[in-house]
Amino acid sequence: MASRSSTLAQPAVFRGVGRSLLLTLPIALWTLLMFTPSFQRAGRDLHIAAAVVILFMTALFFLMMRTGETYRWRRIFFVALGFLFPVGFIASLVAERGTMSIPLSRMVSGDTPFCFMVTPTIILPAAFARTIIFPGAILPTATNTRSIAFMIGLWFAFTLVLGKAWCSYACFFGGIEEGFAAFPKRRRLHRFVTKYGGILRLIPWAILVFVVLLSAAILEPVYCMWLCPFKTVTEFPAVRNVETAIQFGVFVTLFAGLVVALPLLTKKRTQCGFFCPFGAFQSIFNKINLFEIRFNREKCVDCTLCQTACPTVALSKDSIREGKTLLNCMKCGACVDVCKKDAAVWHLKGTPVAVKPERARLLFLYGAWALAVMFGGNILAGSIAAIIGFLPWK
């Protein structure tokens, strides 16, 4: 991880322990509530994992309250989620099927867990052809509780409130590249990213339109079948012929390039910022949700530290001059934390800018962390339980 001095300037708020604990109390209770079912289920591994996650999530929120920093602590959770999700997922696949590839029979029977990445591509076929073009079950089944209806309902509820913050607090893929982006101390290709950022951030929109149109035309989840880099670390169609070999080659190449190599070079979330169509889709909801980052022009000195720190190139000089982020801001808080002049602030729409920004941050964080606990916390617990299960002395 990069040192704090290189990424973060100074905390905006530094609360006392008692006050921080008081502010953490609602999240602690929510976390306990979310993990109550885990303790009711049998299995010592799961109980240990749930306890670890409760402590982990509550401690991180406490540190957010105590230090006034968001990005640093959120990143710890997010990277853990990104790296542990494939561990738990692959472990369950191997235990169940003995392989990461999906046999056709499993696809047909609808046993594939629904992935929210295909949400934008299933809308048009569902409307016109009354077909869900994903091999999953619409309602929960005995073997697949994460059904399409459940996942879309969950996603929609949180997206309405948090907008594209989904990509910073719930996406179980983004943490992998955020982890790789955190490794190097130096930013390379910085000039390239700054110069061509305007074009690069349009690519996810193009891919979104491309996959939506083509999925509707050929009634196939095109992104899943051909473009998802994360198939490399989850599950993929079994390689049986030239076509599936090409598919697998595309997945691996995109993963190696966008999720590993480019984040290491640029210290940016390149897959999220320059490729992910679901991220572009989420950006639309930034228009209608309550929270945003704004810039107090009276304090801003145009140092562009925030622009450099932004992991998804969601800031441009023009947007900072206008006091706003671009549409693709995922509310990770990096710009707010890095600003030495406290010019970048959290903002609740409909209220004056830079008046009580900490209150806006708190309201946002309660929603975002509640989502993180509910969605990511459960994934973390499952993965940790899987790891405990594999320990040699077990």
Partner: protein, 209 residues
Amino acid sequence: MLGLTTGPVCLASCGPVVLPWMLVQPQGVRWHSRQLLLFLAARLAGYLVFAAAVWLVGSSIPHAWSRRSWLVGGIQVLLAAALVVYAAGWPRRRCALAQPSSQLVQIGEAPRPRTSGALALGFLTGISLCPPFLVAGVRAAQLAHLWAALLFFAFFFVGTAVWFFPYLSLGFVQRTPAVVTVARMVAILLACWYGFSGVSILIERAFYG
């Protein structure tokens, strides 16, 4: 009735071609209406050519995959090329003065609209062998007279064409540089897809028969 009921499929299968191509056109519903009419006219021409072909050779084209695959692959490769030329705008004209800004004072007549894109894309989507099209082809091949087959396809066209009018709403979309750039990128991606798909079919046909 066949055209009306299968219209949504036509809307979806032609969407990848129509949407990016229309978004790189200038803004305005009037302009879009003219372009869409040209596109549909070319599409009708494609339909009638196909109707005549299936009537002449019987229903063997829609049925026999071995013959159809050459056609499907070839059409997809041509569609990819047409998307690159007309929607992505490559290769571009070298002289910037060839497309003067609309804000400049215009001397003489207004430049004539480019219609070749609408005609090429309309014709190529018109002969693309999508499922409802093949159903119509089988029916047309069974008819007793050529004029009956042509009439059948003309009515089929009218039924499907109704579904294309929602595309006129694209005329209202503001043509910011970002919108046009995204449309061009989409066209390139789709051209890659159609090219890959077409070439795959042709290679498969060449090697495996």
